[in-house]
Amino acid sequence: MIGEIIESRTAEFVAEAVRYDQVPAYGSFVRVSDGELRVYGIVSGAYTGSLDGMSKAKAFFKSIHELKMEQPQIFELLRTEFSCVVVGYAQDGRYHPYYPPIHLSLHLPVEKADDDEVLLISQHLGFLEKTLNSPAGNGEELTAAAIRMAARFHPDPREYIVRVGRELLKMLNYDTQRLKAILERVDIA
């Protein structure tokens, strides 16, 4: 488990990280099991702040190491949230690349998706549309991150990226400028 859901909408959910300094990577794939459904999401942002959400952290101008030695209690007052866009769900062993019929319940545990799950989800290029239109407004960045993450699990990453790129170009209404902006962020060797 890497987190627990604290906010849920049809299109996205927010989870609190188990530890303030352990967050899933931006653009990585996560899984939430809700009864029979396994809902998948892509990490679309993270935030670390004070525990109560009201007061602000204060600057100490010391290294993290020094702080941990001198002021260990301040770290106990921090919490980290991360948000995820919902990309699809699996039911009865079948993956559906669209929103689940009901949004996720609160307090469900969030886990990292397994490698083969990522492979399966990313085969369906429908996730691109969700990342591209991410509510946070950082669609291109998120899409690039998701492609980076997913490509690693494919036997031929370059071929996968080309396939994704072709799909993206259509979604972008054949705007090569925007496609270029995205693909430049997928700096796979």
Partner: protein, 558 residues
């Protein structure tokens, strides 16, 4: 080539989007392809190619420094597009061949044609389907011309000089002679069809002529026995033409060569009217006094007569025109043709346009008369040999120019003689010089590379979808590539013509049973005498049999 139909129209052709990964550089204009529609297969030809961007902005991005982006955009944002023209449709249900009256539906798959497609359209090689070449990039697949249809009408072989017109003509002649569907008479200006011709190919150098390939089926006549002897050819007959065979019309035909003005032409008719059949020799033998006397009697202008005589003296320099030749060549040629042989008339050194046109016109006029009579008799029920005749003329624009084609016998043959079983095979490098009316009457055209705009225009005259074929025509290779269109092929097709080499010789000379055999002539009863003659390969002269007697009757009215 693989792709899908993107858009298009019946009038403007179809646009095909090439599949990702297909290389447009490998798709050549003129390629024969098939569109698999929902219920029909559309047989089409690639006529144009271009590159299109879904969003034109894409053209102006610098994609070249990013290979990944380059790969993504190619085939998606910027697509390779091929324009094709459907030529013929086949309903899959019953394999019925139809003209194209609809277009394939959107996203129909397009692929290159396969062997069975070519056979479906052009037929398999057999006696009447002659293998002339293969579609572009499909070297092993034969494309056939339907010879029966081919000889039904006059045909043309066109191409710039050096594109292999002579070879296409040779190949077609071989096909026609082998099939036995018709007889051919070749006016062989450069003496290259009869015994042997030049081959530009380094390894072969010489191209076998018809006599070498078909032996006794072909007779070589010559106008210049010395030249024939020098080339090691043994002509079957030396042609000499009597003055009395030359008529006013023949002189009109060569008026440019003789530099005659319209007045001179009128004088010729006066001469013929008053002097009768021997007008030419009588006129040439007249002295100044006789001319004046003649002028007084007929009201012609003496000066004009004298000028004409001076010009006509040129005819005396032609060695084959004799006052009293030993044998009448025209009749001899007719005998040969009538007995089912094919005749090549070599001109040797007499290759001036004057000699060529004069001889061709005189002979053809007589042949024309004979065939008209023959056909009428055939219609009337009195059967005779009525095998079609194909006359091959080179430099055809000289005979069929707009000014002359209405008056000369060739123009008449091209326009209407198919009814009388005589057709032309015109070989020319300047089709634009030929009367458009004649061009449009040509059944089948075999066209090699043409670059001159006017020539392209004129060969495409009377052809469907001419606009589309223009690109194809201009992009043919200079050698061994031609487009065949018209009556004898169901759809225009670009072919790589067969190589005229040993393999071809072997194939063309072998019959089903390995020996020469004359196939029965179409539509007529054949007397046993004729076929036994044709089978006898040692015989050079037609034997005086029943047919011969018929012929004598025909010629002399005995």
């Amino acid at each position: 080539m693989k792709g899908t139909i993107l858009r298009g129209s019946l009038s403007g052709g179809l646009e095909v989007r090439l599949d990702i990964g297909e290389n447009i550089e490998e798709v050549k204009v003129g390629t024969f392809c098939v569109v698999e529609g929902r219920t029909h297969d559309f047989f089409s030809m690639v006529v144009d190619e271009d590159i299109e961007a879904a969003n034109p902005k894409a053209f102006y991005e610098t994609l070249s420094d990013n290979s990944l982006l380059n790969e993504v955009v190619r085939g998606t944002g910027i697509i390779d597009k091929v324009k094709i023209q459907p030529m013929i449709a086949i309903r899959r249900e019953d394999n019925k061949v139809q003209p194209v009256k609809s277009i394939p539906s959107y996203l129909s798959r397009v692929r290159e044609a396969r062997e069975e497609d070519v056979f479906k359209i052009f037929g398999r090689p057999d006696r009447t389907h002659f293998h002339v070449g293969s579609p572009l990039d499909m070297d092993h697949i034969p494309v056939c011309i339907d010879l029966k249809k081919f000889i039904e009408r006059s045909n043309g072989i066109f191409g710039k000089s050096g594109t292999g017109k002579t070879f296409y003509t040779r190949i077609m002649l071989c096909g026609m002679i082998k099939s036995g569907l018709c007889n051919v008479l070749v006016f062989d200006m450069h003496s290259e069809y009869g015994w042997e011709g030049e081959d530009e190919d380094e390894t072969r150098k010489k191209a076998k002529g018809l006599k070498q390939l078909f032996g006794s089926k072909v007779a070589i006549f010559t106008l210049d026995p010395e030249s024939s002897r020098n080339r090691g050819v043994h002509p079957d007959f030396v042609v000499e033409i009597p003055y009395r065979s030359i008529e006013a019309e023949d002189i009109v035909m060569v008026r440019e060569e003789l530099n005659l003005n319209p007045t001179a032409l009128e004088v010729i008719y006066v001469l013929q009217k008053h002097l009768g059949q021997d007008w030419l020799i009588t006129f040439l033998n007249m002295d100044a006094l006789a001319i004046e006397e003649f002028a007084e009697n007929t009201g012609a202008h003496a000066g004009a007569l004298q000028a004409l005589q001076r010009k006509l003296f040129r005819l005396q320099k032609l060695p084959f025109i004799k006052e009293n030749p030993a044998d009448d060549a025209v009749e001899r040629i007719m005998q040969y043709l009538d007995s089912g042989m094919n005749v090549v008339l070599e001109f040797g050194h007499q290759r001036s346009m004057l000699a060529y046109m004069l001889v061709a016109n005189i002979l053809t006029r007589r042949i024309h008369e004979l065939y008209v009579k023959r056909s009428e008799r055939a219609l009337g029920g009195t059967q005779g040999n009525n095998t079609p005749l194909v006359i091959v003329i080179e430099e055809a624009h000289k005979f069929l120019s707009p000014e002359l084609s209405r008056q000369t016998i060739f123009g008449m043959i091209a326009r209407e003689m198919r009814k009388y079983n005589v057709t032309l095979l015109v070989v020319d490098q300047r089709p634009s010089g030929i009367d458009p009316e004649v061009l449009s009457q040509l059944g089948t055209k075999i066209v090699a590379l043409l670059t001159e705009e006017k020539d392209i225009e004129s060969v495409l005259c009377g052809v469907n979808n001419a606009r589309m074929l223009r690109n194809v025509l201009a992009s043919l290779d200079t050698k061994q590539q031609a487009i065949i269109m018209g009556h004898a092929v169901p759809m225009p097709v670009v072919i790589k013509t067969r190589t005229y080499d040993d393999t071809f010789y072997k194939e063309i000379t072998k019959d089903e049973d390995g020996a020469f055999r004359r196939s029965p002539m179409v539509g007529i009863k054949q007397t046993s005498g004729t076929s036994s003659f044709a089978n006898n390969s040692d015989m050079d002269e037609p034997p005086p049999g029943k047919e011969f007697e018929d012929l004598m009757k025909e010629l002399y009215g005995l």
